[in-house]
């Protein structure tokens, strides 16, 4: 019964779209909700909305006799020469009746998926990134610009890559040694077998030989975003959900939910536990979802966790696997290779290692790696899906066509990975640099009275709860805004990461140079 009323609400929601859709929808839904939830009981609760919807349809039919309106009102004129700059809102069309089936102004409709993307206000995470890219700090040309601490990309070792490319120009130029025919024709979308072998070897090398990877279980994609989305499409139907320990990195909302129709149910982790994942929390979240009639298809973790930087212990991972086995669901583990270098005496354990040593059904485990991120070449866009499930692999290989790595990059990556001496050196030097920067940055924050979680990865998870007033999300966002506008520093507030405790911020320090750190600290201090 409830389903019925929700459907009619959804239908009404669909009928009024357009730039002014938000407010108009609210006006429609609120009174109906009152009816549905009122004391009318199940019968009235379902009949009345249906009846209203029926009358609404009659009204619409009377207003517009056929689907084809012979005289649609002229839609907004498209500027011929210069359209509005990107990011700016389009001209708001005049508000017409909310009852128009074609949305305000007779405009042609886009899908519900598109509408939810359009209407969704950007979270501070994205706003911060955007503002920073519009006004980026540069020591010489823009010293008052915003310093980027919100992007977890590692640029500390770009120079190593650059040097390698300079001395291996054959690989960076096409058309000379590399036959055009070879690279520009169709390569397998999911990666050539030669490249997969090289990737498998690389991943094993980085994990210091603890795990060996099977090349045939690898699917390459244009980054981790499509990799995660692909797995969501393969493991869940629209309306299903994944359990995700929070805080979790903001992009996951987009990657898992936008186009798939799949939901995320956060499983809150707390500072009292050092933000580690407890099975009790998983069970609780699972049961709550079940009561609401939501089918959980899996758990998504990141390791080290992003933004909290936790290295999941063996125990945590075993417990997770037991939980998943009990509920017969999947696990997606988003792992960072560069962190596998057992950061500052914390052990990194890959899911791949766990399933290789125990009698678990490996088919339920799927791992995503951001290869290009770990190689300090984010623009290259190479992600890896590693799975044991034949069906998921087959489907992923076919889906890779929608987001595949160009042959140019496949070729480049292959050459780089084959140079094992370079790779070994890179891994070692990169690790040293990240550790050093982490020490300096965390030390700097400590001097300001800000404590951080003991972390892995290219960011630190800092507790600024003592500096926010009031102790709430609002207080946190106030501080975030001050940091951005006054301190000219872009950090990621915990609320964008669905953290249940206010006041935590993620700072990424791998876009900085050592000499920038005092400046960064000074700017942060400005607003404390």
């Amino acid at each position: 019964m409830k389903q019925n009323s929700r459907n009619s609400l959804d239908n009404l929601h669909k009928t009024s779209t357009g730039a002014t859709g938000v407010t108009t929808d609210m006006r429609v839904i609120v009174p109906l909700q009152g009816v549905v939830q009122g004391g009318g009981g199940l019968v009235l609760g379902s009949i009345i909305p249906c009846a209203l919807f029926y009358f609404l349809q009659l009204y619409l039919k009377a207003k517009n006799p056929s689907d084809d309106d012979p005289n649609p009102s002229p839609p907004p004129q498209l500027p011929e020469t210069s359209p509005p700059p990107p990011g700016s809102l389009q001209r708001v069309p005049s508000v017409r009746s909310i009852w128009s089936p074609r949305g305000t102004n007779g405009q042609v409709q886009v899908s519900s998926r598109a509408n939810s993307v359009i209407k969704h206000p950007d979270s501070p995470y994205y706003v911060g990134l955007k503002r920073t890219s519009e006004n980026p700090f540069d020591e010489s040309s823009n010293p008052d610009g915003i310093i980027q601490l919100g992007l977890d990309e590692n640029n500390l070792s770009l120079d190593l890559i650059q040097d390698w490319l300079a001395t291996h120009t054959k690989c960076s130029i096409i058309g000379q040694e590399l036959e055009m025919n070879g690279i520009s024709t169709y390569h397998p979308f999911h990666g050539s077998s030669e490249l997969k072998s090289a990737v498998a070897g690389f991943m094993s090398q980085v994990m210091e030989g603890h795990v060996s990877f099977n090349p045939s279980q690898i699917v390459l994609t244009a980054g981790t975003t499509p990799a995660l989305e692909m797995l969501a499409f393969c493991l869940a139907d629209p309306g299903n959900a994944f359990l995700v320990p929070s805080p979790y990195f903001p992009d996951l909302d987009r990657d898992i939910k936008w186009r798939t129709g799949v939901e995320i149910i956060p499983v809150p982790c707390r500072s009292s536990d050092n933000f580690s994942l407890h099975t009790t929390a998983l069970h609780r979240a699972y049961n709550q979802a079940k009561k609401r009639g939501i089918k959980i298809q899996g758990v998504i973790i990141s390791n080290p966790s992003n933004p909290a930087g936790i290295f999941h212990t063996r125990d945590t991972l075993y417990n997770l696997l037991n939980f998943a086995t009990e509920k017969n669901i999947s696990i997606i583990s988003h792992e960072s290779l560069s962190s596998s270098q057992s950061f500052k005496n914390q052990e990194f354990v890959s899911m791949a290692e766990i399933v290789s040593t125990e009698e678990y059904d490996r088919n339920r485990v799927h791992i995503v790696y951001g290869l290009s991120k770990d190689l300090s070449t984010p623009g290259l866009r190479v992600g890896v899906v590693y799975s044991f499930d034949k069906n998921v692999l087959e489907a992923s290989k076919k889906l890779a066509r929608f987001s595949s790595v160009s042959s140019l990059n496949q070729r480049l990556l292959l050459s780089m990975l084959k140079d094992s001496r370079f790779v070994e050196g890179f891994i070692k030097i990169n690790k040293e640099r990240v550790e050093k920067m982490c020490d300096l940055f965390v030390g700097g924050l400590k001097n300001l009275g800000i404590e951080c979680m003991k972390s892995g990865g290219v960011y630190c998870w800092a507790d600024l709860s003592g500096f926010i007033r009031p102790y709430s999300e609002k207080g946190e966002l106030d501080l975030w805004e001050k940091l951005l506008n006054v301190g000219k520093v872009n950090a990621t507030p915990g609320s964008s990461c669905h953290c249940v405790e206010p006041g935590w911020f993620r700072f990424c320090f791998t876009n900085l140079e050592e000499k920038d750190i005092p400046l960064v600290m000074e700017r942060i201090q400005r607003v404390l």
């Binding site: 359209p83 598109a114 025919n181």
Partner: protein, 446 residues
């Protein structure tokens, strides 16, 4: 020895998408590829192997690209330029490099002989046209809605437009009797058919020049299609991936031109898909674009392009090449010329063998008519002859039924993905086959 009894657990449930057949890779279109993979033709090493004529790739103008890159090393080598590299490697914004978007817009203008203008701010980059078509479908239609697509159409659409999106394709039937043109009657009929199945129609998707017909859509029909979608207040997607492969530049009319001539009135329902895979012969680079006249679609597509980004390196490399107007002009001209020659070669060769083709003027393939030679004018009859051609003649061609063609007996034959010599071999094989076939028929009828 103790026997460990393992309690059998049902396997983890996968999604419908993971197990569905909507990827369509079990159709004959793809089966032919398998046959080729197992026994590929090679001039010297395997002269009796299967010749691949089912792959619409453009290899006729590689030398021009190679020549350009050899003499423009600065552009090709992105490792050297210090500032350029850093700029490239850093956070990849889904807006894409402005220089590259400008280059794409200008290239698209050149391909249309300057008859339409393109705004770089409306160019949304995707990793290939496959992704562009899927992306648009996600944005324009809800699961269960319908897109109207004229038949015959590119077999990959069944997968690209439907698999993950949950959107349906309702065919607009085009007949050989009127050269497969898209008539207003066919449009209305498809629309009504969709409505009768309770599907909401969200748009029409045309490919212009058409795959597999190898012909451009005439202005008159484009105007009618535009009027139709306006009347129904739905979208129009024009996949113009072969726009640079038209043999005579004045024979191609882009929807962009028509919109310009109408002063962009009501253009917000129009979207163009383009890619460099066919015109430049660079499928491996995965460069596609959604060009939309609708601001909401541009914004949404741009954000969703995060799922299918082109690497900065690729953008950087191609930006300089595509901005070189002298080069692109020369390339477009010579490429057209060579494709036209190939087309004439194959059509004449087929004619000698007694096979007619639809009069084409674009693309990397011809639309061959074998209906007079079918045992029965049905899909089975068509597949029978297709199988024979694959197994005896060792040619992989694409049967019309894979393209949802209403008339049986039509085949798409690609001619640009091989050398002229190989094409000769293929034509000779076909000639001999048809000769044998006719003699056998003659004997039987005596």
């Amino acid at each position: 020895m103790a026997i460990k009894i393992v309690k059998a657990q049902p396997p983890v449930e996968l999604s419908k998408i993971a197990v569905s057949e909507t990827h369509g890779e079990n159709s004959p279109y793809f089966a032919g590829w398998k046959a080729y993979d197992e026994n590929p033709y090679h001039e010297k090493h395997n002269p009796h192997g299967v010749i691949q004529m089912g792959l619409a790739e453009n290899q006729v103008s590689f030398d021009l690209l190679e020549e350009y890159l050899a003499s423009n090393q600065e552009a090709a080598s992105w490792g050297k330029k210090v500032s350029g590299f850093r700029e490239n490697a850093l956070f990849q914004d889904y807006h894409g490099l402005l220089t590259f978007r400008k280059a794409m817009a200008s290239f698209m203008e050149q391909v249309r002989g300057g008859k339409a203008k393109f705004d770089p701010e409306r160019v949304v980059l995707t990793a290939g046209a496959t992704a562009a078509n899927e992306l648009l479908t996600f944005i324009l239609a809800n699961p269960g809605d319908a897109l109207l697509v004229p038949t015959p159409y590119y077999p990959g659409f069944d997968r690209d437009l439907r698999w993950r999106t949950g959107v349906e394709i309702v065919p607009i039937h085009c007949e050989s009797s009127n050269k497969f043109q898209i008539t207003p009657e066919a449009l209305e009929s498809a629309y009504d058919h969709a409505r009768s199945m309770n599907m909401k129609v969200r748009g029409v998707l045309i490919t212009n020049p058409s795959n597999p017909l190898g012909a451009t859509i005439q202005r008159k029909f484009l105007e009618q299609i535009l009027d139709f979608v306006t009347r129904k207040n739905i979208h129009l997607v024009s996949d113009e991936i072969y726009s640079g492969s038209v043999f005579h530049s004045d024979e191609f009319v882009s929807i962009a031109e028509i919109l310009e001539s109408r002063n962009y009135q009501d253009s917000e329902r129009c979207h163009i898909v383009y890619s460099l895979s066919k015109d430049l012969g660079l499928p491996g680079f995965r460069v596609g674009t959604v060009y939309s006249y609708n601001n909401q679609v541009v914004t949404t597509a741009r954000r969703m392009s995060s799922f299918t980004l082109i690497s900065s390196q690729t953008q950087f490399l191609l930006a300089s090449m595509l901005s070189d107007k002298d080069f692109t002009e020369k390339y477009i001209k010579i490429n057209r010329e060579r494709l036209r020659k190939r087309y004439e070669m194959i059509v004449n060769g087929l004619k000698k063998a007694g096979i007619e083709c639809l009069k084409g003027n674009a693309g990397l393939f011809c639309w061959m008519n074998l209906s007079p030679y079918l045992k029965e004018a049905t899909r089975e009859g068509e597949l029978e002859i297709w199988k024979t051609i694959m197994e005896e003649v060792k040619l992989n061609i694409s049967p019309g039924s894979s393209c949802r063609c209403s008339d049986a007996g039509w085949f798409r034959v690609c001619f640009a993905n091989m050398s002229e010599e190989t094409l000769e071999v293929a034509l000779t094989r076909l000639y001999e086959f048809m000769d044998r076939w006719r003699r056998d028929r003659h004997v039987l009828s005596m």
